[in-house]
Amino acid sequence: MGDGVEMLRTEEGSTDAVISKILVFARNPVVILIALGLGIRLVIAPFLTFDLDTHYWVQALALVDNDEGLYGSLGYFYTPVWGYVMSVMAGIGTLLGVTDYATLIPDVIGMVTGEFPVAPEITSPAFNVLMKIPIILADIACALLIRQIVIELIGDGRKATVAMALWLLCPLAIVESTMHVMFDSISAMMLLLAVLLAVRRRYFLAGASLSLGVLTKFFPMFFVFVLAAYVLRREGMGSNGLRRLLHAVCGAVAALVLLEIPAALSGQLSRSVFFIAERVGLSEEFLDSVLTVRSLVILLAVVVVAYAAYRLLRSRTSFRPLEAFVSMDPAVRERKVRRILLAIAALAAVAVLVYSVMSVSLAGGTMDVFTAVGMKLVTILSIISLLGEVYVAYRLLFCGTFDGTAVLSALAASSVLIFLWPPAASYTIIMVPFLLMYSVVVDRRFLPLSLLVIGLFALAELPSALTSLSSIAVYWGFPSVGTAVVGAIGFLTGTVAGFPVGGLIMAVPDVLAYVLMLYLLLRWFRPGQLEAGA
């Protein structure tokens, strides 16, 4: 009897303990913020959706359903990561009975070929939620990663929580994951994970994460220079640093190879990396000719021969370029680096312009030349972006005080530099975590401007937001299809002075955000700003 009473008391005690633990947990600001961020997204998810990209996801899944894999026929143009995520979600959807992905709206067919992109297929709320869930979860993971990175780099839990809160409540992040159904948050998550793992000196895994981020959506590629500089600065520029860097490279290559095995085995490797290749100006035909075992063997041989030649030179002569560069007077080195990068930028710009004019002038007229040059401007800006990334990495490598603020400054500058060419709003998701961390942790003066840039990019999605009730109109009957679908799309595809209304509405905040982003960059590259926290 006595034993029984004692047991009851113990159980009551343990129940109280559990309840009090739950209460403490529930009062934790991090938990409250996560719940709030998740809640906002989950409440919006069934109701508001941009149906343009979701109808592409339906087409991509049709390939899978018809035994074509992701690339057997035209229908999916991204790298495999998002395709695999969609396949998993479609499988879960099947088990849950989600069997109706979309409805064709005949009245919209006539508007499809206008200047403003719209889709005549309206996807179902169930399908939309299914596709949104992994991106929303990536959003939440990004929030936790942001907090942890700030804690581990700066050691300030309060600032870490503020940065996390800003991401969770960031209108652009909410719009892109929960309304646009664009998977940039997954890419951002893998990049942040790579940063965190690098901070923890788990370089192989960091390399693998970065590689998966790049394979999700290309843009983390630009962080390669800064992260490499981080490893070298932290581990030393000698053999130890190079060995650690090699670990990261091995991780990246391993992830790349493993992820691309299915596409390579089915002879679809060039199609699977088309999205990345297109961004660096390579055609599918060129990739087909290059991505062969023979070329890989040649590349490997070149690397081995170059390394052997380097070792030979070092052993036989006083050839020590790295040591000479490191031991150079900082001011002289800075001037040299700037001069070299500017020279490369100028040479590349001239070469690209001459090539574009030469390649068109033989067959086309003046307008063709202008068009070709205009298109090549993107290539020139991309080259300048890359050179800027190299410069930011160099500054991190040789900064006076190597600490958390220096790292966050370099990461933030690197993230904005990616978008020297005017980006689509969804692409800029990759920049947001770093901009927020920098503004909260390193230099508060940047916060209003950063929030304005992010807000303007969110506002650039307004035209699509006008159509975001389409799914519930078609499937739930309210508001009417005539208003929410045909009316909204008709308004956006209408023209003013030859320009589509939707495009004009989008252009205003987009251009403003772009200009402010350039201003941000200019402020960054003022002397001393990159090491503001150092």
């Binding site: 109808h55 339906v58 087409q59 991509a60 899944l61 049709a62 390939l63 899978v64 359903d65 018809n66 035994d67 074509e68 894999g69 992701l70 057997g72 026929s73 035209l74 229908g75 999916y76 143009f77 495999p80 990561v81 395709g83 695999y84 396949s87 998993v88 479609a90 499988g91 099947t94 088990l95 849950l96 009975g97 989600v98 069997t99 109706d100 064709l104 005949p106 067919i109 006539g110 499809v112 070929t113 005549p120 297929e121 399908f127 992994p134 993971a141 990663l145 907090r147 942890q148 998550m189 893998m190 994970l193 965190l196 793992l197 923890r200 788990r202 895994l205 693998a208 998966l212 299915p262």
Partner: protein
Amino acid sequence: MKADKAVALLAVFCAVMVAGALLTDWAGHMGLNADVTENDDGTVQVTMNGTFPAGYGWMLYTGSAGFNHVCLYLDYEYGSPVGYSDQEDLMDSMKKYLDSRGVSCSYVDAGGLAEIMSDTGSASSTAVLMASGALPDTVYGEDMSVFKTWLEAGGTLYWMYGFIGETVSVRGGTAEGGTPLLGEGAQLDPDEETFASDISPWAEALRYRNTDATYGLSTDLPGFTDLGLVTESGHSSCGAVPYGSGSIVVVGGSLDGSELGQTAVGRNLALADVIAMGLASGSELVDSGTGSKGYGSTTFTISRGGAEALYLWSGDYNSEWGQRFTLRSV
């Protein structure tokens, strides 16, 4: 996020990738099949069988071409204005799609095409899908009678890209200035406004939304049947005209899907349904509908009206399986 949680996040992501790769490459469609019973009261009872939940649809129609075999034309030795890899991609996909729709099909080259088209006795039991943009001289050279006689005897041609007959292919090249099979204005010139906007009942039922009507047939042609979308100039992105006892179905747009982008797969799947249903000139849609089933089988009844054939399909939006049932004469 502790050290192990960061690694755990990476591990979960990798697990999703592995699961996704497996599902993408090996899951495919759900192995559906259907049983159809015709009742004396003019209704048809349909049972859709399959383990997992699935969406499905049905179309009741008349005027199905009677072919029971489809030849997919592909010849690397004969010239073509269309890239061979584009043709090969399309034909490989169509073979897969038609197989899963219960349609017997095989590849055929220029020589094989001549053999098939010379056999006019079995013209009505064979259809040919061509995406070469050129007719080989084995059937449409100086003597064009092989091709024309086969059509007149009841053959069905599904044609993509180019004016039929204008380009004749020979071994190792092509020859412009051939004789177009159809008259001037019968097919839409690429220089005109080539985007269609009005949708036909067939296209709506097929979820066919290819708006590119380049080379598409004119709706003014006698006996024209609209299966697609129509431009202001009256050309269809998918249409059929009779030719003797046979039929020609022309699909508009480029083969590589450059105008269609990510929706090319939707066009190709709808075309597979068009072929599996045997749609041709004179095909008329009687009724159509969609539904969805949960786990296991589901049975429903539909009124056949005056339909001669029933086509059942399954899919979440685009079809992934289909089967044609010829209904008994009333």
